[in-house]
Point group: C2
Chain length 127, copies 2
DNA sequence: CTGATAGTTCAACATGCGTTGAATTATAGG
DNA sequence: CCTATAATTCAACGCATGTTGAACTATCAG
């Protein structure tokens, strides 16, 4: 079979989610989705200091979500881009894990197994 | 159009991700995907104290990801279930945001715009 | 009323992590 | 060499939040 990918284990998914759950990191990733970006370009767009950008990019890079490239003419410039393979795996893993059709309607094994009342009728924390 | 859902804004997606990025919370949610569960059942399965389960379930509930139901015969028992509508919205939002086809191949606007070398040839942090 | 059960709420603690400013590295140009 | 630039690394701070144990609610059974 072509393009086969082994199923992503939940722990890998959890690691990816932890990296992407940071708001500013998600915004950085969103900009990278729009094309290769250097540190300064991201900093200008998001009004963030370059060392902060570096910090967040390192997290994304450690998670394997983005790739790094240096300019051949002037090696001081570093370009970042989304790792497409990782993104495909992430997207597939998330879609499978949170697939609504995966929801099982089984009743709880404990408790008196009484009839359930609709969630609308429940007020738990609201005073 | 039937079943139309307005596009989920990125901030809502970030909020959901933040809630789901917690490993134990993700495991709780995974169990809920397998059917309605009460607090004690989740605690037994994950070897966690009931107050911790309560704490994490509250976060999932506040995020609108799970619904609460009380037993009609014995109101001491509380059952939790995945909110299917929220899950569908989450899944759609995530799939759209992290769609690999959304990646734009544009070149950086800053820097000398030099030719890019393949990421394989780059060693940044590894000594 | 009394005790047991299921669950939540509260207060205190611990720690992970985003943030900040300064120091450091690497490269380019003169 | 010497300075400027792009980016990273480091140390310190502060806050958010997961964890823990105890107190508290609510409900049911006798």
């Amino acid at each position: 079979m072509l393009n086969y990918q082994p199923p992503t284990d939940p722990e890998q998914l959890a690691r990816w989610l932890k990296v992407l759950a940071e708001p500013k990191r998600l915004r950085i990733f969103n900009l990278l989705m729009q094309g290769v970006q250097c540190n300064c370009e991201l900093g200008d767009a998001l009004q963030m200091a370059p060392n902060l950008i570096s910090h967040h990019l390192a997290k994304l890079r450690d998670a394997g979500l983005v790739d790094v490239t240096r300019d051949t003419r002037d090696a001081r410039w570093v370009y970042y881009a989304v790792n497409r393979a990782a993104l495909e795996q992430l997207n597939a893993a998330f879609g499978a894990f949170f697939d609504p059709n995966r929801i099982q309607p089984r009743h709880p094994a404990c408790g008196p197994q009484g009839n359930l009342i609709p969630p609308d009728a429940v007020t738990l924390a609201e005073p």
